[in-house]
């Protein structure tokens, strides 16, 4: 008889065939998280994602700063997509404080967030490439996103943490000659995206590696609560920019990209195709934007929200991104809750990895469009 165990502790039955692998946090293919993977030979028996290594308490921090001071630190969870993570915050605060946004500012916000979505997706694509051992696909997007970063730098003054969207509009007006420059970069990106297709997405090895692996059916995708590209890759036509249009998205001409396969290849292909749609949106927004006018409604110093609560969400690079803000007549919010797409997509990882080969782990993992820092907040 074994020694008596303390109450509450159970010994797990160990199978000799099963090997437990600790993928992360010090692993080239894990990001800021840990995956506890059990393998039988080369097949994954179970996968237990363990996020939380980069929890920074953004939500708690937001309770001690007023509505304007919250802007710079709330964009930290995804510095590559900073306009999109600030977008719902600005929308929510505007509704809370009853601020009207000028028409020109709405278009500039859309342009900035679409540029930022492209920057994020190119970064994501670069990591996807290196996860699959394709070093050229790592270097090309990482180089091409510099052009868009330069654009946003000209708009906001910072390369990655722009803090460009503020409640009431945008921080400052567009620089001179922005329209021509932006259209030129967008044309260049579209040309390069076609080259990506011929070197990466049409590559027979990539197709045979990712097609038919990690299949997430339509019902499972809805049942597990996935969002964004993962949901659209499983055949669900759901894009918040279409379904609940915010700012001027209803005036703009674009389509939702949907694929029915639900496998790793579709999940990797959707963000790529959405970059074309982003380019379309940017072109359309530049055409329809009022050429002059105010870009920011002045706020009162230290504005107070009423006794109210508000929930706003947008479509970010990783899916639905929402802010739930409760205020209680004070300059600081009473509670800020950020609902991120990354965390909701992480939930389906154990379902997808079960029964897959270990070699499919990087493509399934990164195909979920999961950003550990955002998920931990």
């Amino acid at each position: 008889m074994a020694t008596q165990l303390p109450p509450g502790i159970q010994l797990e039955k160990v199978d000799d065939r099963i090997m437990t692998l600790n993928v992360g946090p010090q692993h080239p293919g894990s990001g800021h998280m840990r995956l506890i993977i059990k393998v039988d030979g080369d097949y994954i028996v179970s996968c237990d994602p363990d996020p939380g290594y980069v929890h920074r308490g953004e939500e708690k921090m937001a309770e001690y700063r007023n509505y304007i001071q919250n802007i710079p630190h709330l964009e930290r969870p995804v510095i590559h997509d900073s306009c999109n993570i600030l977008y719902p915050y600005c929308l929510a605060v505007e509704e809370l404080l009853g601020i009207e946004v000028p028409e020109r500012a709405k278009y500039i916000r859309v342009i900035a967030s679409e540029l930022n979505r492209c920057i994020y997706t190119l970064y994501w694509l670069a990591i996807y490439g290196i996860f699959l051992g394709h070093s050229t696909m790592f270097m090309w997007p990482a180089g091409d996103r510099e052009l868009f970063i330069d654009l946003l730098e000209a708009m906001s003054g910072a390369r990655v943490t722009h803090a460009y969207l503020v409640p009431g509009g945008v921080r400052n007006d567009l620089p001179a000659n922005f329209e021509e420059r932006c259209l030129r970069q967008v044309d260049y990106l579209e040309k390069r995206l076609k080259e990506y297709q011929s070197i990466f997405y049409k590559n027979p090895i990539l197709i045979s590696r990712t097609e038919g692996t990690g299949i997430l059916s339509r019902t499972d995708a809805i049942r597990l609560g996935t969002t964004g590209s993962v949901l659209r890759a499983s055949g669900v036509d759901y894009d918040i920019r279409k379904k609940e249009p915010y700012d001027v998205y209803e005036n703009l001409d674009f389509e939702t990209v949907v694929r029915k396969e639900g496998d790793s290849y579709a999940r990797s292909y959707i963000p790529y195709l959405e970059m074309f749609e982003s380019c379309r949106i940017i072109r359309d927004a530049i055409r329809k934007m009022p050429k002059s006018g105010s870009v920011r409604t002045k706020l009162k110093p230290n504005p107070k929200g009423g006794n109210d609560e508000v929930y706003k969400r947008v479509e970010s690079g990783r899916g639905s991104l929402g802010y739930y803000i409760v205020s209680n007549n004070r300059p600081e919010p009473y509670r800020v809750k950020i609902s991120v797409g990354s965390f909701r997509n992480l939930i389906c990882m154990p379902y997808l990895l079960k029964g897959e080969l270990l070699g499919n782990m990087p493509s399934v993992y990164w195909g979920l469009n999961y950003w550990p820092v955002e998920a931990d907040r």
Binding site: M19, L21, H27, P28, G29, D42, G129, I130, F131, L132, G133, H134, S135, T136, M137, F138, M139, W140, G143, I199, F200, N203, I205, L206, S208, R209, L357, L358, G359, N360, M361, P362
Partner: protein, 434 residues
């Protein structure tokens, strides 16, 4: 004031250098020189031009070019020189080092980067030297639970085996090969068979899960691709009727075997990519899955040795491809002949006319053969490097499927083609094409 080493004084540093030089000279003259003479006493001295080459005579001849050239010529035909310098390790290591540099620059050009740029001012040409110094000066960390003797010996075995493979490659006509056995191709197969054993041994010795998985992957991959590799070369053996690599090269004076065995060449090329663990077959080192595979626990110069062995192996396989399919050293004579009047009349410097025996040092055929061999081998090496820029990594099940099903079948097809050519009387003894 330097913040890196605040106690640094240049005068003290130079003083310490003088100290070191003094002690080295003292120890060398008191202990080293006697030791050299003691050793020389036991060594059988070479006979050059009928004279016994004593150290005293060698020193005397150093001043006389008409005697120095024969000494050098005698030296370069010794087995020692073959092994250390020209067709052997030195030459291969030089090509391997050039390969690493070219790979980095070449890949950078594909990926719209500049590659190494700063080290050595001109296009980062000294980058490799810097990397080597870094690897040498790094700490070698051995895992506490590792099987230490095997872990230590693994990189050395790897370099040794790669060197053994290098020694079998004939570079130029006239015996410029370290080892020229009549069963050369069998020796190649036997040497290749050692690599999976070394991978598995070191992987197991490191006592780590990632190295374990990587080692098993290396084992599976190399065994799956060894059989099509051997089968693809059988057609060459059937066509030439010999296993001797030098004779295989000589048989390609008029046409290369890639003309009659193109499928074999393709199969062999894919197999060497897999044997070299290069992308798309770099599963044993797949970093996003298993950290660095069976190399995970190596650090410092142990890792450096593994890299050296890998690139020596790359050179050896590229050379093997050249020898077997691309005609080895055969090619039109482009090297200018040695000026004849220097041999017949000697060199006139002012009033003196020196008749120097033993010129030229290398004959024209050898230099021309080396040139063609190097050109072809570098071409093959570039082809081996190219997939790294355009392919992602393959998966283990696809890899094994490729090895065991597709490549073996393809290799058999070319064996039948070779047999058909032989029995139809096109090739072989008494055939239409000689």
């Amino acid at each position: 004031m330097s913040t890196i080493a605040p106690q640094f004084r240049l005068s003290r540093f130079i003083g310490s250098l003088f100290d070191i030089i003094f002690w080295v000279l003292l120890i060398f003259s008191l202990a080293g020189l006697p030791l050299v003479f003691i050793i020389l006493f036991y060594i059988k001295l070479p006979v050059i031009n009928g004279q016994l080459l004593t150290p005293y005579l060698a020193l005397t001849w150093m001043a006389d070019p008409s005697e120095t050239i024969p000494i050098i010529k005698a030296l370069i035909h010794t087995t020692f020189f073959h092994v250390v310098a020209f067709p052997g390790f030195g030459f291969a290591a030089l090509i391997a080092a050039a390969t690493i540099f070219v790979e980095r620059k070449f890949l950078a050009k594909i990926q719209l980067r500049v590659g190494p740029l700063y080290c050595g001012k001109i296009e980062g040409i000294l980058q490799l030297m810097g990397d080597g110094l870094k690897l040498i000066s790094k700490e070698i960390i051995i895992p506490a639970k590792a099987d230490k003797p095997i872990f230590w010996i693994g990189p050395l075995l790897f370099v040794g085996t790669a060197g053994a493979l290098v020694s079998l490659i004939p570079v130029a006509p006239g015996g410029w090969v370290v080892a020229n056995p009549n069963v050369g191709l069998l020796a190649v197969f036997a040497t290749i068979g050692f690599f999976p054993i070394i991978s598995v041994l070191t992987a197991w010795a490191a006592n780590n899960k990632w190295t374990f998985i990587g080692g098993l992957r290396a084992l599976h991959q190399m065994i799956a691709f060894e059989i099509p590799l051997i089968l693809s070369l059988l057609s060459i053996v059937i066509l030439t009727g010999t296993l001797n690599l030098s004779q295989i090269v000589e048989s390609q004076q008029h046409y290369w075997w890639i003309v009659f065995a193109p499928i074999s060449a393709i199969v062999f090329f894919i197999c060497i990519l897999a044997e070299l663990e290069r992308i798309p077959f770099d599963l044993p080192e797949a970093e996003s899955e298993i950290v660095a595979g069976w190399l995970t626990e190596f650090s410092g110069m142990m890792y450096g040795l593994i890299q050296l062995g890998t690139y020596l192996k790359l050179y050896a396989f590229a050379g093997l491809f050249t020898v077997l399919f691309l005609g080895g050293w055969n090619g039109p004579m482009v090297w200018p002949p040695f000026p004849a009047d220097i041999i017949t009349h000697g060199i006139t410097i002012g009033p003196i006319t020196a008749q120097i025996a033993g010129l030229p040092l290398f004959d024209q055929n050898m230099l021309n053969g080396t040139l063609w061999f190097v050109i072809k081998t570098v071409g093959v090496i570039l082809l081996i490097l190219l997939p790294r820029g355009v392919f992602p990594r393959i998966r283990i099940d696809m890899l094994l499927h490729t090895g065991w099903y597709k490549l073996i079948g393809l290799a058999f097809i070319n064996i039948f083609i070779a047999l058909g050519l032989l029995y139809a009387g096109v090739l072989g003894p008494g055939g239409l094409i000689q």
